[in-house]
Amino acid sequence: MNSFFARRYVIQGIFIVIALIIVARLFYIQIIDKSYLLSANNNVLRKVVIYPARGVIFDRNGQVLVQNEPVYDLLVTPREVKDIDTALLCQIIDIDMQGFVNRMEKARNHSPYRASIFEKQLPATTYAQLQEHLYKFRGFYVQNRTVRSYPDSIAPQVLGYIQEVNDRDIERSNGFYRPGDYIGASGIERSYEDLLRGQRGVRNQMVDALNRPQGIFMEGKYDTLAVSGDGLVSTLDKDLQVLAERLMKNKLGSVVAIEPATGEILAFVSSASYDPNLMVGRERGNNYMKLLNDPTKPMFIRPIQASYPPGSVFKVVAALTAQQAGVINAQTSFYCPGGYRYGRGAIMRCTHVDGATDLIKSIQRSCNTYYGYTYARMIDSRGMSGPKAYDLWRESLTKFGLGSPLGIDLPNEKGGFIPESAWYTKRYGSEKWRSSYNISLSIGQGELGITPLQMANIMAIVANRGFYYRPHLVKAIGEKGIVKDEYREKIHAGVDAKYYDPVIEGMSRAVNMAGGTATSVRIPDIEMCGKTGTVQNPHGENHAVFFAFAPRENPKIAIAVFVENAGYGGTWAGPIASMLVEKHLKDTITLPKYIQDRIYNVNLLPKTAKKEEVKQAPSPAKKDSVKAGQTAQAKANKQEYFVHHSQVRRRND
């Protein structure tokens, strides 16, 4: 012990101070600063999303309309890629060298240490080839996904398609969707998205410092299983749909067939159509652009988005509403001199000169004169001003589901257009207008805009003698077969059942009795009630329309066929409707073969709209540019479709 004994305390003091500094620092990084825990989890945890199988869609007889098909996303972790045979990889997945470099660059920008998608949706055949060589491609992995597949390539507008979510979808979903997820973008894929998508599962995969998968975090305590989406049973009848699409090939227009007793849609054709399989897979972006630019507008869902003046078939509604209003009855008869004179030198002509015509005959023969008189009585002789009487009539039309969307389970349904009296008042500059001002409404021409779905629904109402169910495309959801309440509600059309009899008789005679407008399409052993229509088209050839329901008693099908630019309704629309009705009721077609062939083979596409064939097979051109899907989507939203001229005019007002 020497004189510097006290210095031991200084030394011990230094030891203690340093230990305290260490403890304080530990306290800070272990207790106060939580960011290290977060970083540790980021280091080690990879939330692996387990994608649920999307719900399968069946037709009403249990046949598959949409199913899932496995595809394979190729992922890459750039840091792990070493000495690979780039040329071989490019060859297998069918890209060029520049494409490889671009993709690697993109992946590296995303993260050099984490896997990102190198190429999406490789088909099973490519995958099989790739699998053989995958061990040579260090840093590349394959992840299973499923995509939609459509075994019969039918009903694209009904079924819709799915696409990767965009930023807006993600934002709107409050974070439910994440980049790379798929979402129903149209059709029932979109309207039943919540049910079809199922529930994603998450696996908390742990990885080591080299990003190699290790165990599952906490033995899967925080993992969730994927729950498959609900299956949907569609109301469509696949066989009927296939036939309807075949019949509508090379024509523009719509077919809607409804089961009157339930409102279930049996067939729903929008032509021009396309193969729904085009909207799947690696060529999707290209195909999508081609479809968008196709002048026949295959992406346009005509049955619910196009509205036309209905033409003569509207006489059915006119006859019913007029009876209900009491302006005519079953015995009311007008004299037809071959036209209705509604002003000096102004004649609305018939195609015939029938003389005395009663209600039944007026429908059977489609007499314009009769409805000229009826409309005149409706507007001019009810002891009130023209506009007032018109509005009263208009209201009875809306009860038939006209003028507003019917509420089908498809997105973007349009409501058509029935002008209000104010619209005419504004147009004529005064309230003192009468039936003669817009007499063409009486026969379904003029400003009326009605969607083919509404037309078919009118037929369903007539078939049911006074009521309808909202037309819909899905009859059962999931295993329990739930039906949405809104589609079980019986809606009355505001016209008493008794008034339907003469109209139905007229429609029956139109088909089944000599002198009818559609006798050429009558079906043996089935009393089909029908009504032809020819819609004047200021832009070109007239549109052909045919409505029908059958059988007369206890009807099973109500149908509207609308063929654009096809001329007279009985020629093209009638046979199509007839064949579909017979097919549905008897599963045969008795119409002579030559008529069938004529329909299958005719090309009624407007000359200007030469349909470009869209190829499905991988096109020889290598598509390496970044996909234009998003911009195309934006364009599609902007694109506007007009068929009805009155709508154009309304916009200009």
Binding site: I11, F15, I29, Q30, S35, Y36, A40, V207, A209
Partner: protein, 424 residues
Amino acid sequence: MTNLNEKSFFGRIDWLTILLWFILCVIGLFNIHAAVYDPENPGLFNLATNYGKQSIYIFTAILIAFSILIIDAKFFISVSPIIYVVVIILLIIVLIVGRNVGGNQAWIPLGSFRLQPSEFGKLATCLLLASYLSTQTNKSPNMKTLLIGAAIVLLPVALVMLQPDTGSALAFFALIFVFYREGYVGNTFLLLSGLAILLFVLALLVPNEWILIAVLFVICGLFAYSLRRKRKYLISIGLLFLASSLYILCVDFAYENILQSHQRNRIDIILGKMDDPRGQGYNLNQSKIAIGSGQLWGKGYLQGTQTKYNFVPEQSTDFIFCTIGEEWGFVGSILLVGVYLFLLLRIVHIAERQRTAFARIYAYGVASILFFHFFINIGMTIGIVPVIGIPLPFISYGGSSLWSFTILLFILLRFDSSRKGLNG
């Protein structure tokens, strides 16, 4: 003199220190196991793993410890020059035939083992220093003794620097405590050392050294004003100011021109001047993440994900504290710090109860070396000192390190056990 009575001999051993030593070894063993644990392939005890090898090292260390306890204490005094010479020769040999591991030529391959002479350098230096200084205690501390003592320390430092193993070399400087305790350097020196470290950090942190010098000038001016009556202090303050200014300029110069770039980077990262968690700062960042994610109670034995999945490099050697921090949390960490502190204070306590100057000086040498390793190693893993690759005594994996520290400690215990019968 020795072994007069077995019972009383063992009774005189400081069992408390042995207990602390053993606790640290066991903590080390468990955490090495955790660090090398492969969850895919847990297996049983395997001699091929670091864990298995460390068990052997510990077993061997116990044998060595026992051997030391039965050797005559005087033996160590007499052989200290020989040991020193042997180690110096080994340090020279390693420069010629050594194996280069991680940029340092520090290892001599001996069959399946590798010998790291610099670890034994500390032991040899402590022994010779104690031996030399203890012969000088009859005189009052003088410059000549200080210089010879310093030379004993600086010779191995120079050789280790040549490897170059800066970390191990720095550890020798901890022996400043010995010189301090023996009176060769004063409180002023200690304060000046502290000031030098502070100025070093400031010089690197403050972007323009002239600003720092200006601030320093103002502070010195204030002191000078308050002490204006005492001329003696005024001169000291003036000198201090000039020396500090010169030092600051030198630090900047040395930093830019003498330090190697990786050393500069390590310092920059500690000072927060550089943020590169994927490159230069990867080790430190991952180390802090591992320790920080341990939270209060830790993730549990073998549950440390950062450790298990190899995010932390060198985790069974230099970064072993990460495993402790992650799996045992704050509680486990402070217990470990507590055990170390207790050991260090115990050694100082033992030092002061020695009758011979040799034993006392040697004890302070042991305390200094252990303290330096403890502080620098843990400090680097939690980001308060730059990353310097030195082991955590008794805990880090490695035979050379474990044996040399064990020998270091048990020679002290041997002296302590015979303190009553030894005159020096």
